[in-house]
C-alpha cells in the first residue's frame, strides 16, 4: 500500500484507540461541551457585554469552540506522541516498512475527525439545547472555517513538537497546567477585556488568544469589536499570527521529532 492509503489505515486505528479511551473522550472531546452546559445552567440571566446582551451559552460559545480546537489538536497530539514514544509504539512502527509520513497522516486524520465532530456537537448543543444564535451569513462561516483550520493545524504541529519536552509519566502535568493558564488568560473563560493589559499582551503571543478573538468575530455582534485590544476583530493579523505559529510549529516538529526514547540511540 502507498503512504496515503497506510495513513488512512492509521487514521481508522487511531480513531478506534481514541474512542476506546474514556479519559481522552471525556477530557478532550466532551470537555468543552460539558463546560458550555455548566455555564449555561449556572448563569441563568442574560449577560451584558458592552452594548449587547446575550445568553450565557452565546457568551461562552466562542471560548468553548476555541478551547475545543486546542484540546483536540494540541492536547491530543502532545499526549499521544509522548506516550507512544515512551511505550515503544513509535519504535514498533519504525521497525515496519510503514513510511514515517503515514504515521503523521494518521494523526492528522484523527485530529480532523475528532475536532470537526466536536465542533458539530458543540454548536448543536448551543443552538438546540440553549437557543444560541449561530452565524447566518456565508462570511461568518467562512471566518469560522479558516480560524478553525489554522488553529487546528497550529495545534497539531505544536502539540507534536511539545511532546518531546516530556515523558509519558510527566506529559499529563506538562500539558494540562499550561493549557489551563493559557485558557484563563486568553479570554476563554472570562471576558478578555477584563484581563489586565500586560496579561493581554502575554496572551497575545500565543495562538489561543487569536483563535478566541477570531471566534468572537464569528459569534458576537459586530459592535463588540470595539471591546477588543485593537478596537477591531483584526482578521488579517489573526491569520498572520496563526499562520506563523503553524509554520514555526512545523519547522520545530521536523527539527525535534524523535522516534525513540531519550538515551536509547
Amino acid at each position: 500500500m502507498n503512504a496515503v492509503a497506510l495513513g488512512f489505515d492509521r487514521t481508522v486505528l487511531e480513531l478506534k484507540m481514541y474512542s476506546r479511551e474514556k479519559e481522552a473522550v471525556f477530557f478532550g472531546f466532551l470537555f468543552p461541551v460539558v463546560m458550555l452546559t455548566l455555564f449555561s445552567v449556572i448563569f441563568n440571566d442574560e449577560i451584558t457585554e458592552g452594548t449587547a446582551t446575550m445568553s450565557a451559552a452565546e457568551f461562552f460559545l466562542p471560548g468553548m469552540v476555541s478551547a475545543g480546537i486546542l484540546l483536540t489538536s494540541f492536547q491530543t497530539m502532545a499526549m499521544s506522541v509522548a506516550v507512544e514514544r515512551d511505550d515503544g509504539t513509535l519504535k514498533r512502527l519504525r521497525s515496519t516498512p510503514m513510511p514515517a509520513v503515514s504515521y503523521f497522516l494518521g494523526k492528522v486524520g484523527l485530529v480532523v475527525v475528532t475536532a470537526l465532530a466536536q465542533q458539530v456537537l458543540l454548536l448543536g448543543v448551543a443552538k438546540f439545547a440553549f437557543g444560541a444564535d449561530l452565524p447566518t451569513t456565508a462570511d461568518g462561516w467562512l471566518t469560522f472555517g479558516w480560524v478553525f483550520a489554522l488553529g487546528a493545524i497550529a495545534g497539531t504541529v505544536l502539540g507534536t513538537a511539545y511532546s518531546s519536552l516530556a515523558t509519558a509519566r510527566s506529559i499529563g502535568a506538562v500539558v494540562v497546567a499550561p493549557m489551563l493558564i493559557l485558557q484563563f488568560i486568553s479570554g476563554v473563560y472570562f471576558d478578555f477585556g477584563g484581563i489586565p493589559s500586560w496579561l493581554q499582551q502575554v496572551a497575545a503571543i500565543f495562538p489561543l488568544k487569536w483563535i478566541a478573538q477570531g471566534m468572537r468575530s464569528v459569534f458576537f455582534p459586530d459592535e463588540l469589536a470595539t471591546l477588543e485590544m485593537a478596537g477591531s476583530w483584526e482578521p488579517g493579523r489573526t491569520a498572520l499570527i496563526l499562520g506563523a505559529w503553524a509554520i514555526g510549529g512545523l519547522i520545530l516538529c521536523v527539527l525535534t521529532f524523535r522516534w525513540f526514547k531519550r538515551g536509547t540511540t
Partner: protein
C-alpha cells in the same frame, strides 16, 4: 551466503565501550543465538543490526545493506520481535496484526499468523486482557507477519510457561525450516541448545566463544562424569572414555549398575565458566568503588 556480517564493531556510551571490536558472520538460513550476561552488549549489538542505533566504528552489513542507511525495501525483508508490545492495550490482536500486515509487500494471511502464535481464542479481545505469555506471542506474530527473510528475536520466551515455550520453539523451527534466518538473544541456555545452529557468547562487548551448542567451549571433547551408588555412597569418576568405564562397571556388578549417571558439562556449565571472569571483574570493580566511597 551471509545474512549478517560484522567487522570491528564499536559502540561507546561516554567512556564505556558497550561493544568493543566485535566480529561476526551469520549465514543465510542459520538460527544463531547470542548469549551473554546483562550489560554484555547483546541488545546494543542487535539494535545496531536492526538500524535502531548508530555505531561509532566498524563495518556492518545486514542482508547486503548498512542498517544505518536502511530504507523501506530493506525493512520489508526484516522482522523484529520487540521486547514488549506496550501501547496496544486498546486494540485487539486481529486489528494490530492486520494493520501491521498492510505495511509489508507480501504479508502472511492474518488468520495464519493468529493461528501460528496460538491466539485464535483471543484474536478479537482487547490486548489489555492478554497474559504476559500471550502478549509475547502477539509480539512474535507482529514480527513474522511480513514474511521476513531475517527475524530478530530479543529474549522471546521470557515469562512463558513450559508448554508455551515448547509451542514457541516449534514455531521457530517451522520458520527456520522455511529458510528464515533467525538471530535470537536469550538468557535460557536450553532454548539456545534447542533452537540454534550456532551460539555466540558475548561479554564486555567482545565475542568470547563461537560454536555449535554441542561443541561450545570444547564441551564435546571434555571429560565425562560417571557416577553410581555403591556401599551406601555416591561414587564419581571423571573419564575421557565413559563407555569403557560403564562396561567395566557392568561386569563388576554383573548386570544393572545402581543409580548409574553419565553426564557431560551442560551448556549452562560451559557458559557460566566462560563468562565467570567477566562477572568477577564487575564484582571487583564494585568492591573497589565502595571502598573508595568509604575512604
Amino acid at each position: 551466503m551471509t545474512a549478517i556480517s560484522i567487522r570491528g564493531l564499536v559502540k561507546e556510551y561516554g567512556t564505556k565501550r558497550a561493544v568493543d571490536g566485535l566480529d561476526l558472520d551469520i549465514g543465510t538460513g542459520e538460527v544463531f543465538a547470542l548469549l551473554g550476561p546483562n550489560g554484555a552488549g547483546k541488545t546494543t549489538t542487535v539494535e545496531i543490526l536492526e538500524g535502531f542505533r548508530t555505531r561509532d566504528s566498524g563495518e556492518v552489513s545486514v542482508l547486503g545493506e548498512d542498517p544505518e542507511k536502511a530504507n523501506r525495501v530493506w525493512r520489508n525483508r526484516i522482522g523484529i520481535v520487540l521486547q514488549s508490545s506496550a501501547g496496544l492495550d486498546l486494540l485487539t490482536p486481529r486489528e494490530i496484526i492486520a494493520s501491521t500486515a498492510r505495511t509489508y509487500a507480501t504479508p502472511r494471511a492474518v488468520d495464519d499468523v493468529i493461528a501460528a502464535v496460538g491466539l485464535e481464542e483471543k484474536a478479537d479481545e482487547r490486548i489489555a486482557g492478554l497474559s504476559g505469555g500471550q502478549r509475547r506471542r502477539l509480539d512474535v506474530g507482529l514480527g513474522i507477519v511480513g514474511r521476513p527473510e531475517l527475524l530478530f528475536l530479543d529474549e522471546p520466551t521470557t515469562g512463558f510457561d513450559p508448554q508455551a515455550r515448547r509451542d514457541f520453539w516449534e514455531l521457530i523451527r517451522s520458520l527456520a525450516a522455511e529458510g528464515t534466518t533467525i538471530l535470537l538473544t536469550t538468557h535460557y541456555l536450553d532454548e539456545a541448545e534447542q533452537l540454534a545452529d550456532r551460539v555466540g557468547v558475548i561479554a564486555g562487548g567482545q565475542l568470547l566463544a563461537l560454536d555449535t551448542p554441542a561443541n561450545l567451549g570444547g564441551r564435546a571433547s571434555e571429560e565425562a562424569t560417571v557416577s553410581w551408588a555403591e556401599g551406601g555412597q555416591r561414587q564419581t569418576l571423571r573419564t575421557a572414555t565413559p563407555t569403557l568405564e560403564v562396561r567395566r562397571l557392568a561386569e563388576r556388578f554383573s548386570g544393572e549398575v545402581p543409580e548409574l549417571v553419565v553426564s557431560r558439562p551442560t551448556l549452562e556449565d560451559t557458559y557460566l565458566s566462560l563468562i565467570a571472569p567477566h562477572v568477577i571483574d564487575e564484582g571487583a570493580a564494585h568492591t573497589n568503588a565502595s571502598q573508595e566511597v568509604m575512604a
